[in-house]
């Protein structure tokens, strides 16, 4: 573990004012935590070399600029802004007393959103963390995962104004400190274990199967680690089927292998198949051998996806619907937020789709659209995660606009929005 002083001075500027003079950066004590083995060959992809990730604003989006009026839903559904003013809105978990905790990436904050007199009140609960995307709630405690750090805030809903010092569980969980593709997703499963992903720390490379490209599960105290899925490039969303109890997870396919894909995936870990191999880096999508990391029989023994979720579409949050507000045909259907493409010339995604599962397969269909203008090749917002509220409505976070939308069902006779 790096010393705090090294970490803090990591970007220090050696000032010339004696008053400000920070010591110049100390000599490297550790090798970089990143793979030198990335085997991407972008020039061979035939894609526009200028493609790059879209910037996420870290400033507040004014209310009249939040594109809720662009949102289109099936008949009978309605979208409204539920909360706003929290830049970087991503993961959402709900506390027992109704607080929505929200994780972010770049801005390093964890928000607490509460209901007060019918309005939402947003607090910056924690700040200065490195990509605290991983949040989970159990027995009154909020678990915060920021790359390899694991912090537990007990009785958090009683101290939202001053969360105090967390219980430090980082050493117990002993997660890799590599950052790339390791903004965490975490959730408690029906077995009471904490499930955590460890992504591949490259676009495409040989990874150590013992440490990276996995979904793991732990006891809540960090003991008893087991590997649940291997060969998983970058999942940042999973949920359990309400009837079968099986784990379903989204997975982001590699970049710089063409505009057409390989497509992203929706996967299932079948009962008794814990520890199965999902193909990275050799085999993608529904059996596409990697063009850069070549081995014979690349897809042999690989669990192929339950559904393809589109080229570069970035399916992140997934939630099986168990509420009573939506019509019965939505029961046990998975809602998947697709944040939208960057490594694709014609933009794709920027929506919420539903996945109807049957055995080990799933069929996708549109649900929330309107945030992508295909003609102009521009997007208005980026749905990242979905959360089912106690009343059966659905919250969708929009990272680009630092807001959440509440999706409710008004009935078929309701005026179409």
């Amino acid at each position: 573990m790096t010393s705090p002083s090294l970490r803090r001075s990591g970007f220090a500027v050696a000032g010339t004012f004696a008053l400000l003079a920070a010591a110049s950066f100390p000599a490297a004590a550790q090798p970089p935590g990143f793979s030198k083995m990335d085997l991407t060959k972008p020039a061979a992809s035939g894609q526009d070399a200028k493609l790059r990730p879209h910037a996420t604003p870290n400033t507040v989006t004014p209310g009249d600029k939040i594109p809720v009026d662009k949102v289109k839903l099936p008949r009978g559904f309605k979208a409204e802004i539920w909360s706003q003013g929290h830049p970087g809105a991503r993961t959402m978990v709900e506390g027992a007393k109704g607080t929505i905790f929200m994780g972010t990436r770049l801005i390093g904050r964890v928000y607490a959103i509460t209901n007060k007199d019918g309005k939402r009140e947003t607090k910056v609960l924690l700040q200065g963390l490195t990509q605290p995307n991983g949040l989970a709630f159990k027995d009154g405690a909020l678990y915060v995962l920021a790359i390899n750090r694991v912090l537990r805030y007990d009785n958090i809903e009683d101290k939202l104004d001053n969360p105090g010092q967390p219980v430090e569980l980082t050493d117990k969980f002993n997660l890799p400190d590599t950052i790339h593709h390791n903004w965490k997703y975490a959730a408690f499963g029906p077995d009471g274990k904490l499930y955590i992903q460890v992504g591949a720390n490259c676009n495409v490379c040989e990874i150590n199967n013992g440490t990276h490209g996995q979904i793991r599960r732990y006891n809540p105290d960090g003991t008893g680690m087991e590997i649940v899925a291997r060969g998983v490039r970058n999942t940042v969303g999973f949920d359990w089927h309400p009837v079968t109890g099986e784990l379903w997870f989204t997975d982001n396919g590699r970049d710089w292998a063409g505009n057409a894909g390989p497509e992203d995936e929706l996967n299932r870990v079948a009962k008794g198949q814990e520890g199965a191999f999902y193909g990275f880096p050799y085999c993608h999508a529904n059996g596409v051998p990697d063009p850069d990391v070549r081995i014979p029989n690349a897809c042999r023994g690989v669990v192929l996806p339950a559904a393809l979720t589109g080229p570069h579409s970035a399916g992140l949050g997934i939630r099986f619907y168990t509420g009573d507000m939506f019509p019965a045909r939505y029961k046990n259907v998975a809602f998947i937020a697709r944040r939208g493409s960057w490594n694709r010339e014609q933009k794709f995604g920027y929506d919420v789709v539903i996945a109807r599962t049957s055995g080990g397969k799933a069929r996708l269909s549109p649900f929330l659209t309107g945030l992508l203008d295909e003609g102009k090749n521009e997007f208005h917002g980026r749905p990242t995660y979905v959360h089912q509220m106690k009343d059966g409505s659905l919250l969708v976070s929009d990272e680009q606009n630092g807001a959440t939308y509440r999706i409710s069902y008004q009935g078929r006779t309701a005026k179409k929005k």
Binding site: R7, G10, F11, F17, A28, A49, T59, Q127, L129, T170
Partner: protein, 196 residues
């Protein structure tokens, strides 16, 4: 392991802020002009830094500057020398400062650029695809900084940090890009970019 408190609350050099904002010592919020004057003491009056290892801000993309100020304010990218200036910055001031520096004209620093090194840096830059994000002009765009006409010593300093720090901040693309390069390679890249 760092304690959560230390990581979440970066240190504050209150004295330094008072030094640069004399008018603000009486607990008044500095005006935008006062803030720009304070920035200029190190980063140059016209945004082109005359000081060793202090980056030039002139012509940096607006979003890049805004992002960095916010990351410093939040403690995600803690820069001790900057802490007193950013700790109370509101979003609208961040955006105003970013807009100001984005509109200024970038100029070469006057450091001696070595053409042979720059040529070698151009070759390395091709393999690392610098122009993919920083654009062929190296002027940057949106969240990606301008590296053209940046100070050589700052570029070397910054590239070394990306290579050597296992926790190089919230973005990992640069760390991946410079992994495995030698000091000489990094110097070549710096001379190449500064000369553009």
């Amino acid at each position: 392991m760092a304690s959560a408190r230390r990581l979440l609350r970066p240190p504050v050099l209150g004295l330094a802020a008072a030094f640069f904002f004399p008018a603000a010592a009486a607990a008044q919020t500095p005006t935008l002009a006062e803030r720009i004057e304070a920035c200029g003491a190190c980063h140059g009056v016209d945004g082109n830094s005359p000081m060793e290892k202090i980056p030039s801000l002139a012509g940096q993309p607006e979003l890049f500057i805004a992002n960095q100020l916010i990351l410093m304010r939040e403690g995600v990218r803690p820069v001790e020398a900057m802490t007193p200036f950013v700790k109370d910055l509101k979003d609208d001031t961040v955006v105003a400062l970013a807009r100001h520096y984005a509109a200024l004209q970038p100029k070469p620093s006057g450091e001696a650029a070595d053409p042979a090194l720059a040529a070698r840096g151009a070759e390395i830059g091709k393999t690392k695809r610098c122009d993919s994000c920083h654009l062929p002009t190296l002027a940057g765009s949106a969240q990606i900084p301008r590296i053209g006409k940046q100070r050589i010593d700052y570029l070397i300093h910054s590239l070394k940090q990306f290579r050597d720090s296992p926790h190089p901040g919230a973005d990992t693309i640069m760390s991946g890009a410079v992994a495995g390069l030698s000091d000489a390679d990094l110097a070549a890249l710096a001379h190449y970019a500064a000369a553009r």
